[in-house]
């Protein structure tokens, strides 16, 4: 049994994590490898990938000591580099197929790597700490392998991994999408947040409130908010719970280790890599060397009768009386928290209880839960009602005639045209905007090196071959990307359209003329 996807379906992508500090001596190079996908590639191939990456990291540091290799562009592949932690590198290699679909933005792929690492850190702490805890690397590999495989499974379409492409150029990964809330509802939400905070008794709890897949409120730092929001949208919101159930076609309950092997999209991998990555240890059953939770495993969250979400990501059967709450590390404070989620209709509440404030987990968490039920139930009902009333539906943020992405880099917030509307754009328009975003990415990165701390100010309007306008506006850390199809050919039309949009939806942030 193993976690590798079918070799044939996923040869378009390779993903590896390695530690430059390990395997320095000849013959021990294999120690460097902490993760490799697909795992059934021969070690010689894995090592040659890492050898090239390592070589280029060293080489580029000759000229650019402050920033080593970020990307290798070759004719058939792009190699995307991300130094997740000092000397711990993540490399993603994507294949450019002949069809035009395989066009992406390198920064979008790097954001994927960042997301994997941030989520991993949230649940398991830093890779370096894991390596220090157990220098053989077994513990780290046993954590990384199931975690990343679970993550990647979200990108499986049929037997193929579908990574973010130019079609996603109007999406802002690693940002939070907010719900616009009326004044009255905002006051209700505020009260609810106060109640949630006090549920932990003497130690205040942190909380995140989501309506559908949109954030309503948070008491966390922007970075922690992004991580928890991402996790919630992936696994906790009503949408995530139901979509998981749909895609889960073959579920064996009761034997958590065998259901992995029998899932249709997985195929047995070579036995040597299994040992290496400790994939026989991935479940949490008691007889394993390492006790590993798999927070991204599909369909491991359920909504209990009392509204609380319960999980068996730690391998404990849902039916069991003892249900553990998963824990997360907060980046900002370095604190470890119990994650407790409650759902009412479209509303999802995430409560984070400091581990330090609870002596006995089972007892402590259930006291908090009880507090929530007693003190907040009514308010939750009210907030849900208010938000549902004001909710404009899936296309609430559609602006007719515009296809846009608005990113507030200062607060890691974004808003975009509904995906269904974006799909009405022609391929040419999307490619034009994707290319424009790449240019903006490189301008931003250059500005970062040239004038650290100073925000880039940029305005670009391009009339593409198909007569669509692709627009990018960057000002004071805010970014606006836009495609206008079937638009007038004059530049005035385009800038006027941006101006109107800016005045109406961005409080004039992009109105410069």
């Amino acid at each position: 049994m193993g976690l590798a996807f079918n070799g044939t379906g996923s040869e378009g992508m390779r993903l590896c994590i390695f530690d430059l500090r390990r395997g320095q001596n000849e013959g021990h190079e294999i120690d460097k490898i902490l993760f490799f996908f697909p795992a059934d590639l021969p070690f010689t191939t894995q090592l040659s990938v890492i050898g090239l990456s390592e070589g280029l990291i060293t080489f580029t540091r000759i000229f650019s000591p402050e920033a080593a290799c970020e990307v290798i562009e070759a004719e058939r592949h792009s190699h995307v580099f991300y130094e997740a932690e000092p000397d711990i590198w993540m490399i993603m290699i994507v294949e450019k197929s002949k069809e035009l679909e395989a066009v992406w933005r390198i920064d979008a792929l790097r954001e994927l790597l960042k997301e994997i690492h941030s989520l991993f850190m949230m649940f398991h702490g830093s890779i370096r700490v894991l390596l220090d805890k157990e220098p053989s690397g077994g513990l780290t590999r046993a954590h990384l392998y199931p975690f990343i495989m679970d993550y990647l499974r979200d990108f499986l379409v049929g037997k193929k991994l579908q990574l973010p492409s130019f079609r996603d150029c109007l999406k802002g990964r690693r940002t939070v999408q907010m719900l616009t809330v009326g004044r009255e509802a905002a006051i209700e939400v505020q009260t609810l947040v106060k109640i949630l905070e006090s549920c932990g008794g003497s130690t205040p709890c942190s909380s995140l409130i989501l309506f559908q897949d949109l954030l309503v409120s948070t008491t966390l730092s922007p970075e922690d908010t992004v991580n928890l929001f991402t996790y919630a949208v992936l696994r906790l919101t009503p949408h995530a719970l139901s979509s998981g159930a749909r895609s889960w076609t073959y579920l064996h309950k009761g034997n958590s280790s065998s259901n992995v092997a029998t899932e249709s999209t997985f195929a047995p991998s070579g036995s040597f890599s299994e040992q290496f990555y400790g994939s026989e240890d991935i479940s949490c059953a008691g007889d394993n060397r390492y006790r590993v939770t798999r927070p991204l495993q599909h369909d491991k969250w359920f909504r209990g009768k009392d509204g609380f979400l319960i999980t068996d990501i730690c391998g404990v059967d849902v039916g069991s009386s003892y249900i553990t709450s998963p824990t997360v590390w907060l980046q900002q404070t370095g604190e470890r928290m119990y994650l407790c989620a409650y759902q009412y209709k479209s509303l999802t509440l995430i409560l984070l209880i400091p581990l330090s404030s609870i002596v006995n987990e089972e007892q402590g968490v259930s006291i908090v839960k009880q507090q929530l039920r007693e003190n907040a139930s009514l308010k939750i009902l009210k907030v849900e009602e208010k938000l549902s009333k004001g909710w404009g539906g899936e296309n609430a943020y559609h602006v007719s005639g515009y296809r846009y992405l608005l990113v507030d880099g200062n607060r890691d917030i974004s808003r975009a045209s509904p995906p269904a509307k974006v799909t009405t754009l022609t391929k040419e328009s999307l490619l034009a905007l994707n290319r424009l975003r790449e240019e903006v990415d490189s301008e931003k990165s250059r500005a970062k090196w040239d004038n650290p701390g100073r925000n880039k100010d940029l305005e670009v309007c391009i009339r593409a071959k198909n007569n669509a306008w692709a627009v990018a506006r960057i000002t004071r850390g805010k970014e606006l990307y836009m495609v206008l199809e079937k638009a007038n050919e004059t530049l005035f039309y385009a800038s006027d359209a941006v101006e109107k949009f800016s005045n109406r939806y961005c409080s004039g942030a992009f109105s410069l003329d």
Binding site: E73, R446, K465
Partner: protein, 596 residues
């Protein structure tokens, strides 16, 4: 290389391939062999005469032993050998003396000063022109290789903003912009290793990015070219520059150099390029100031239509007598050119050829007859270029396929020169040099009166008109509506016209910055996947840039960053109109052989 090539060529010519660096003996041998060479008995003005450069007054401004090198250049006897053993002959166009010259100049401290910004644009010009870039071709720069004392261990070397390397597929260094090639052997091997590791994976590396740095790779058969740059140029531009460097190498050696590598993968090419450092560094410098390097178009010296016609007529006369191309240029600008029927000259070839001629000092000192290859015309074969400077900036190039056409071409040149002098074309050229090109301050508010074509680019219209034109307010702030600069490229003519630099773009750094911005704009407008865009408006803290691409022309314009959008667009339309009004003066019209 000597052993390799000598084995392959006929005995009499062997000497020609001898490593130019190995001093006296080869020179003697070469002199021996040169007895077979026709041009040996040239009149004194050709300083070929056995070290009798003296006859020429000053053999070489650098006062170097250029007797050898020039001897090489006119050594054209072995045409057949070119065909058969291509690479061996190129040795005969090696520039032994100039290798010496480059190192001599590099000792001269001046280059250090000019190096501070990696490749400052030189604004110095004797003619008192204030325009800077457009009038400052590489010839005004200190030529040759610089910082030969550096290698990859020196911090100063690592901090250079833009490196260029040529190496062989076995990792042997052939050329490095900075530092001594021999000391860079290890580094060169690393570059080779990167390329081959990726190749072993069934792929081909295009570029690597790291922070502000980009490493761009170009593989041309057995020749590898690499650029390491932290300038802001996009990949497409840097790759284009590597292509040009490769083209420059082919121009000197022809592509048949590949055969040497087929025979011996460890073949050492450096001797073949001996002395040509100056050609490459001048080309690399032109990436900073010459828009032709990314526009793939050429530019003309502004001249009255009749004057250019007169020049064209006499060139045409010559072309009819078996000359493949006859080109009259002033610095990097074309005065006129004609080609034999069906022969077409690519703008890149013109760029490389004029760079070669202008950067090689010895061309200026006497008439020369040199084998050259036009990579876009035929990368496998040599042509022969008769080059003669008519004055400091103006030179005539007559290209032929025949290796023994020297005297014929010399006669042609004399005829041309006589006509040019009689018709006062040369003095017109000098005047145009002083007057300069189009200036944004002169942009007419209204379309020019079509009838009375003005003497120089519509600058002197009716006196009343010029009074009305609000010229004064623009001084120091560019043209109307904050217009700072523009480039107009005519698609079907393959020519461009670039306005002169005016304040506030007065220092070389700003000018180079603008060219780089244009380069980015140019690359941004043409994405391979989605085809060229139509319009682009781009505003950042430095400029407002406007680009407009139509089937007929491309316009690139730079404005003050605070320029009003509406006015900027209006101004662009006026620029296009202005260009159309004076197109007979700024473009070479009806150059029939341009049939690509």
């Amino acid at each position: 290389m000597s052993s390799d090539s000598s084995s392959s060529s006929s005995s009499g010519d062997d000497s020609a391939e001898i490593n130019p660096n190995s001093d006296s003996k080869p020179v003697d041998e070469r002199l021996d062999s040169s007895t077979l060479v026709e041009p040996v008995e040239l009149e004194p003005s050709n300083h070929r005469g056995n070290g009798d450069g003296v006859a020429n007054g000053s053999v070489n401004r650098e006062g170097l032993n250029s007797g050898d090198e020039d001897g090489d250049r006119i050594l054209v006897e072995n045409q057949e050998v070119f065909g058969e053993e291509g690479p061996s002959s190129p040795g005969s166009s090696g520039y032994a003396g100039e290798r010496g010259s480059s190192s001599a100049t590099s000792g001269s401290g001046i280059d250090d000063a000019s190096e501070i910004d990696d490749s400052e644009i030189q604004v110095v010009r004797n003619e008192g022109s204030l325009e800077g870039i457009s009038d400052s071709p590489a010839s005004t720069r200190v030529p040759g290789k610089r910082h030969v004392d550096e290698d990859d261990a020196s911090m100063s070397w690592r901090k250079r903003k833009k490196h260029f390397f040529i190496l062989s597929h076995s990792g042997k260094p052939i050329y490095s912009r900075y530092g001594d090639e021999h000391k860079l052997a290890g580094f060169s091997a690393t570059l080779q290793a990167i390329i081959s590791v990726v190749e072993n994976g069934g792929d081909r590396v295009k570029f690597v990015k790291a922070g502000k740095h980009q490493v761009v790779f170009l593989v041309k058969g057995p020749i590898y070219l690499v650029c390491i740059s932290c300038t802001e140029e996009p990949f497409e531009s840097l790759k284009g520059q590597l292509e040009l460097i490769y083209g420059q190498m082919i121009l000197i050696l022809t592509k048949s150099i590949n055969r040497c590598f087929e025979k011996n993968p460890k073949f050492d090419m450096t001797p073949l390029l001996g002395g040509t450092d100056v050609v490459f560094s001048s080309l690399i410098h032109s990436f900073n100031w010459n828009p032709a390097t990314f526009l793939h178009a050429y530019t003309c010296l502004p001249l009255a239509y009749a004057t250019r016609q007169a020049a064209g007529a006499i060139l045409q006369d010559v072309a009819d007598s078996g000359v493949l191309f006859a080109i009259l240029m002033c610095e990097h600008k074309v005065i006129s050119l004609v080609g034999a029927q069906k022969a077409s000259l690519h703008p890149d070839d013109m760029l490389l050829l004029s760079n070669f001629v202008m950067s090689t000092e010895s061309f200026r000192t006497s008439e020369s007859f040199s084998p050259i290859c036009l990579p876009r015309y035929n990368p496998m074969a040599f042509l022969y270029a008769y080059v003669h400077f008519l004055d400091v900036d103006t030179y005539l190039m007559l290209l032929t396929t025949s290796s023994d056409a020297f005297y014929h071409l010399k006669d042609c040149r004399i005829r041309i020169e006589t006509v040019l002098l009689k018709s006062s074309v040369l003095s017109e050229v000098q005047r145009s040099m002083i007057d300069g090109g189009m200036r944004v301050e002169d942009l007419p508010l209204d379309p020019l009166p079509r009838a009375g074509s003005s003497p120089h680019l519509g600058q002197q219209i009716l006196p009343t008109d010029s009074l009305e034109r609000p010229r004064e307010p623009f001084i120091g702030i560019g043209g109307p509506a904050g217009l700072w600069h523009f480039i107009y490229r005519s698609i079907y003519l393959d020519q461009y016209v670039s306005s002169e630099f005016s304040p506030p773009l007065n220092n070389p750094k700003q000018q180079k910055g603008l060219y780089r911005a244009y380069q980015r704009l140019y690359a941004s407008m043409r994405d391979k996947g989605i085809g060229p865009h139509k319009t682009q408006f781009r505003r950042d803290e430095n400029y407002v840039l406007l680009c407009w691409v139509t089937p007929d022309f491309e316009l690139y314009a730079a404005f003050d960053p605070l320029a009003d959008k509406a006015l900027a667009i209006k101004t662009c339309n006026r620029v296009c109109q202005w260009v159309k009004d004076v197109e007979n003066e700024i473009f070479l019209q009806g150059a029939s052989p341009f049939s690509w």
